[in-house]
């Protein structure tokens, strides 16, 4: 197979060998940027992150949420589709029997270990009930402890609004503390979900 | 101006520099924590376990550079008196200096040709 070689023309010659004209050419650019930014930050492309945020697309895959039916109960029917499809095995569901016989199952436990999640969105696509979505717009999650990344069913409910808390980060005490490490990280020890 | 009054301030400056660096060192030694362990004491090696020591073998180019430096630095010292007195010494001094620089340039050309200045 013939390889395609792109020839880059090198500028050589006396002018380049002396460096000075090229240096001044470069200086013209950097000095221009310096003064434009000195007098009013005209070219600045970075933002002061926690105070300013970039607009995100409607389709941005952020933190998950579990949607609800009109009567307020979770839409999820604990079909294990998402748990099965999840490539990083970070969803852990335990099905429970609902007292209302018209509803077959409901998730008794629904944990997502957001540290393992790769935000691929496959769980959203797999769900037959549109019960799980990733449209919360939570772009970055920064917490101080590992356990905080373990989102339980109640934290994933769609009315859970982090902004209601005084800091946008979840404090540790916002979250239920699992009793043992086994229950804390159900699938994170490399054990595939059953 | 006597020698002492001209150079004493320089000594003071040097002492001041030592004082500054000494303060820095002492402040760091006494105010910083001292939590030593084996890993922290090991020299940085990009996270790898260190194998062997760095030894004392240098590339020969460094010796070459040092030699060429010695030659040129000493020659420059001989040129300073001429540069200051260039008007008084006139064309005679100029010719002498040029012969001197010419010998230097010959040396440089020889080094260059022999590859003492190559670093590839």
């Amino acid at each position: 197979m013939e390889l395609k070689v792109k020839q880059v023309k090198r500028v050589d010659g006396v002018k380049e060998a002396f460096y000075i004209p090229a240096t001044f050419g470069g200086l013209r650019l950097t000095v221009k940027h310096f003064f434009r930014n000195l007098l009013g930050s005209k070219d600045v492309v970075t933002i002061n992150y926690p105070e300013e945020k970039r607009p995100i697309s409607m389709r941005w895959r952020g933190r998950h949420r579990l949607t609800r039916k009109n009567d307020g109960f979770l839409k999820c029917v604990a079909c294990y589709m998402c748990e099965t499809v999840c490539p990083s095995k970070c969803i852990h569901i335990e099905a429970g029997e609902h007292p209302d016989l018209s509803i077959e199952k409901y998730p008794f436990r629904f944990d997502i270990d957001e540290l393992r999640c790769v935000f691929c969105g496959l769980c959203v696509e797999a769900c037959p009930k549109e019960a799980i979505r990733m449209d919360t717009g939570v772009v970055a999650m920064a917490y101080s402890s590992r356990k905080t990344f373990d989102f339980t069913r109640d934290l994933l409910r769609d009315e859970y609004d982090p902004k209601q808390h005084e800091s946008p980060k979840y404090a540790d005490e916002d979250l239920p503390r699992p009793d043992s490490s086994e229950t804390a990280l159900p699938n994170s020890q490399g054990i595939p979900a059953a | 101006m006597t020698i002492a009054s001209g150079y004493l301030p320089i000594l003071l400056m040097i002492l001041l520099g030592m004082l500054l660096a000494g303060t820095f060192t002492l402040v760091g030694l006494y105010l910083g924590p001292r939590l030593r362990n084996k890993v922290k004491d090991a020299p940085f090696e990009s996270g790898f376990i260190r194998d062997g020591t760095e030894g004392s073998r240098y590339d020969v180019k460094f010796y070459m550079t040092a030699l060429v430096f010695l030659v040129f630095d000493v020659e420059i010292v001989f040129l300073y008196p001429w540069t200051v007195q260039v008007r008084e010494l006139g064309w005679f001094g100029f010719t002498a200096a040029m012969i001197f620089i010419g010998v230097l340039v010959l040396g440089l050309a020889y080094d260059w040709k022999k590859g003492a200045l190559e670093w590839e």
Binding site: T46 | L8, L12, T25, W112
Partner: protein, 357 residues
Amino acid sequence: MEIIIEILSIPLVQSILKIVFIILLFAMPLGTVLTLMERKWSAMIQDRVGPNRANIGNYTGHGLLHLAADGLKSIFKEDTIPKGANGFLYLIAPFFGMIAGVATFAIIPIAGPIGDFTFQVTDIEPGLLFIFAITSLSVYGAVLAGTSSNSKFALLGGTRASAQMISYEVFMGLALMGIFMVYGSTRVSEIVDGQNEYWFGNLIPMWGVFTQPLGFILFFTALIAETKRAPFDAPEGESEIVAGYFLEYSGMRWSAFMLSEYIAVAAVAVLTTTLFFGGYHVPWLHLWESAPQWLVTLLQVMKFSIVTIFFCWMQIQLRWTLPKFRFDQTMALGWKKLLPLSLANTALTAVVILAFM
């Protein structure tokens, strides 16, 4: 009152006062502020916001408090010494850079003399030869730090630093020969006064940059390489040998290296100002003969500071303008371009001086 004047007229007391003034009120603050300004200016050049987080309450001072935060942080950091390091050499290595940086300011006049009183710590006869001597001292800092750390990267950085610094010392000396010839002295006060002459009546001041344009470029290049700053920062090469010779240093000793680097930046700017931009002389000020002495001195200090700050800024600007030189390119640039050019500059200057004398 009289006893105070008596004490003040003792030369030693005067020079101590001058040292305090020049170092503690000029060089050190400039070096310290430069540590922040380098980051702030770099941010502006690269279209970033730059450091602005350190705060007391709501006051951030546009990042000014980072100076205090950084200082406090490094004071309370642990001072590690790697195992196998040569304790004494490791201890004294930061001293050399600091001494070299500080002592450079000894012969720099920051304003014209008032009567017998000079704004210069000492005006020794060898003048700039002293600068060459003292800057070569900073080679020891790099070499000792590199060899005593018992670390491979530090050793690489130290050897590179030694080769680069001794090479560029040669070109620094050669580049200044033109200046010595034009002003006929190595003494700083005479060079500065020589730059107060004018060409064509009162049209162009005889600044070093006009009498020695090539010499200026060579000298500035050599000085930047001597301080091991970008684009000649192969001895520190963050991307290959992490930090070079001061890799193993931490806490306040690391700060000592950093501060001496910034003092060296200030020293480069000060030397360039003094030798090539008329020093403290305000151009065309002599035309205003009735100017009061205090105003003249004030203007001189201001002019000196402005040009100095301009050259500090210029070094940071150059850092973000030029791509880094590989180490062999650094050496080739020195020995194959700067050396022949500076020899030619010397010869040319001599010919011009002798021909038009």
